[in-house]
């Protein structure tokens, strides 16, 4: 085992222990922190059921940690069998229905963490926008659970109810609720196990990908020294309370002319991605909302650019952000 991996394993184990129940805390925030650690540091496999309204989908998830290095495979249990394979340096989305594979590079420090978490370490949770409570919740899939409720204080964001395994902190069930408290989407384990070891083959795709079209990202340019606010060609003139810009990303299409720019705004819990795309035919552009479960999107256009805001937030939030996007050189309000 490489020294770097050894160090990483020791750090992860130490962090998990510190974040665990030894603290004896009933604090909801502490339990959510523990959940984040558990999702990265434990071996687990199980069946996830996602439901939104009458629509039900089933997924198989295998999460393997070896020498402190997490890898993961999520497979849709339907006739299509889309998969996500998360490896040390890349994430692979296998789309058999499109005979396509989308690959994303993760970078050396990205394993197990999203870019935002890398940059922030632990984001500031603002209790002006969310209130937390915790309660006992009986048993779920045969395991004793705690229920953490994340209640928004306004209508710009959704609320959450999370049933956490008392022993490990793994989320057994998550509900996302809208402004009226109506559950718009939920994920729950129908069964889960935590084996001591999981074979490497369990996190490898069984699909034959030779004939698939591979879409790889352009080479990363790495962090830029300029302030985030000065990056990119676009900005939001106004934002819902608590949201601020967290990341800017841009990508050129293969032909080198069309550009896709992504701005990420977050309130510390929910995030909204804004995609500004040039080179989209006028017939494809338009304005209006879209929705899928807890994910809302709002598309608008500005000159030749198509602007789409996407996130697990209410429609009003993505709409407000999408319609506030302007070229960076535009004077503020």
């Amino acid at each position: 085992m490489r020294i770097r991996q050894r160090i990483r394993a020791m750090v992860l184990i130490a962090t998990a222990v510190v974040a665990g129940p030894a603290l004896g805390t009933d604090d909801a925030r502490g339990w959510l922190e523990r959940m984040g650690q558990a999702l990265e540091t434990l071996n687990y496999e199980g069946t996830l059921i996602q439901s939104q309204g009458a629509d039900v989908a089933v997924m198989r998830i295998v999460h393997r940690v070896e020498n402190g290095m997490p890898t993961e495979r999520i497979t849709a249990m339907d006739d299509v069998g889309r998969e996500i394979i998360r490896q040390e340096e890349e994430v692979i989305f296998i789309l058999p229905d499109e005979q396509a594979v989308m690959v994303g590079a993760r970078g050396e420090k990205a394993v197990g963490m999203s870019p935002i978490r890398q940059q922030l370490g632990g984001s500031r949770f603002d209790d002006r926008y969310y209130k937390l409570t915790i309660a006992t919740a009986g048993k779920l899939v045969g395991r004793t659970a705690r229920l953490v409720t994340v209640q928004p204080t306004d209508t710009w964001r959704f609320g959450y109810r999370v049933w956490l395994d008392q022993e490990t902190g793994i989320p057994l069930k998550i509900q996302i609720a809208d402004r009226d408290g109506v559950v718009v989407e939920q994920l729950l384990f129908s069964e889960i196990s935590l084996p001591e070891r999981i074979p490497a083959s369990a996190v490898q795709s069984s699909a034959k990908l030779d004939s698939y079209t591979w879409q790889r990202p352009p080479a990363a340019t790495g962090p830029v020294a300029a302030p985030l606010a000065n990056q990119g060609n676009w900005r939001a003139l106004a934002l819902p309370p608590g949201f601020s810009l967290k990341a800017v990303r841009s990508e050129k299409a293969d032909k080198g002319t069309d550009v896709l720019e992504q701005l990420v705004y977050s309130d510390g819990v929910a995030s909204v991605s804004v995609f500004i795309e040039s080179g989209v035919a006028a017939a494809e552009r338009g304005e209006g909302p879209s929705r899928m479960g807890a994910a809302n999107a709002y598309t608008t256009d500005l000159s030749i650019h198509m602007i789409t805001a996407v996130g697990e937030v209410p429609l009003d939030t993505v709409k407000a952000i999408a319609r506030s996007i302007r070229p960076a050189r535009t004077p503020g309000p």
Partner: protein, 197 residues
Amino acid sequence: MPMRTGPEHNSRLDEQLSAWLDDELPEVEQEFFVARLVQSPEGAARLARYGLIGSCLRDRTAVVAGQISDEEAALQLAGRVRAAVGAPGSATPLPAPARKGRALPYAMAAGIALVAVLVAVVQTPPLRPGAERMQASTQTAAPASLQKASLSTRRMTNYLVHHGEYSGLLSARVTESHIINGRPNFVALRAADASPR
């Protein structure tokens, strides 16, 4: 408790599933059956693959026969599934908070990192209440003006893949499930309902 497998068992499961979806499963068997259904991979998969499809077809047959309306069929199906899997879509108010939270770590593993990512404090003025008032009715699109146009499945899949890397701790799995369940059935509303900038 693990479910038994094998052709005989699966056949029995199918029979029970069909009876349950048709409201013909004896009441004394329902609770046990649903518990087994949602606690086993096989049962859950069959519910998704066979049960819903079969039920939709049966409801469709009833609609065509004039026995029930489209709306009634949809409501009946939704009701059965909600009752089984735990009530999304039903009015389940979140309880009032009891104490304050303090800090939450950010995000979990997800998607893709492509180009430059940097974090800094950005001074963008917040929207004030009333600055961008939207009616709740915009949440539900009017069927007559719906078109699958701007947000093609491929484009939305691409967006969700990129967005997934930045999803919050509590919603990352939801974003992933939208991607791999192959049904980014986002439906875009054209300019009919859009007010000018």
